[in-house]
Symmetry: C2
Subunit: 150 residues, 2 copies
């Protein structure tokens, strides 16, 4: 099983922490995990996990979208990190280019419009900017990510 | 050798990433590393490193200051993460309560006044908000943290 985590601009501190937290859960479930991020997101991830205990594959976000469009890569499960409209765009892009089951990971101060815009994706959402505890609680409610792909 | 990392409110995404990056370097040099943070800082660290590969001891920031004041704990090297005046206050607190050699890790958009306010501490500073690459470069210029404590 293959999972993708898509991360745009990391304005909010919770993004990197929750990304690594989800990656660890997926690794432990046996997923092959790829994280795609923009330059700042990738740098935050690499500095947070310098020995790559949690990060297995890390690619540039634009390259990832290109490779999805060219059908060079495909995933069973795709997490999109959303705290603004640009996150909603990435979710729409993933939905149009991949057959992956999509999960919208929504955080920030104003989450309601983002939840509404996420359509039929699975929603993991919490008001969280600096403290990821509430978002983590939503993630921990999911007992098996593999089960979602079936 | 014992090192302390002090982290206040994590408004800027680089704080957690650079904290874990420095902790890893210190662990590898054989330091016994304690990270002290406020609630949000601690939660970001624990979610970023869920298996505690980098985090060894983690304590509440206020409890840490109390224990320093009571002389229950002491350190050889103390890093204070500074992106606002509150960081400068923590640096002053550490200087007054400990004999540790202090390192001011300064980041954010307006770093000059913070550098000026850090006095005779060692300064590691870069304009960095979302992307820690420039700050990491300053850290990598230090070949041995242990040498600083001598």
């Amino acid at each position: 099983m293959k999972a993708l985590l898509m991360m745009g601009c990391p304005e909010l501190p919770v993004q990197t922490a929750i990304g690594l937290y989800i990656a660890n859960k997926l690794n432990k479930e046996g997923f092959e995990v790829t994280i795609a991020g923009n330059k700042a997101a990738v740098s935050l991830l690499l500095n947070s996990d310098p020995e790559k205990h949690y990060i297995k594959k890390l690619i540039d976000l634009d390259r990832c979208i290109g490779a999805l469009a060219e059908k060079e890569i495909e995933f069973d499960l795709g997490f999109v990190f959303i705290h603004s409209d640009s996150g909603i765009s990435y979710l729409a892009t993933l939905k149009s280019l991949s057959k992956a089951k999509t999960v919208a990971v929504i955080f920030g101060k104003e989450i309601e419009p983002l939840i509404e815009a996420s359509g039929d994706s699975m929603i993991i959402a919490a008001k969280a900017v600096h403290n990821p505890t509430s978002l983590r609680a939503r993630i921990d409610e999911v007992k098996s990510w593999a089960a979602l792909t079936k």
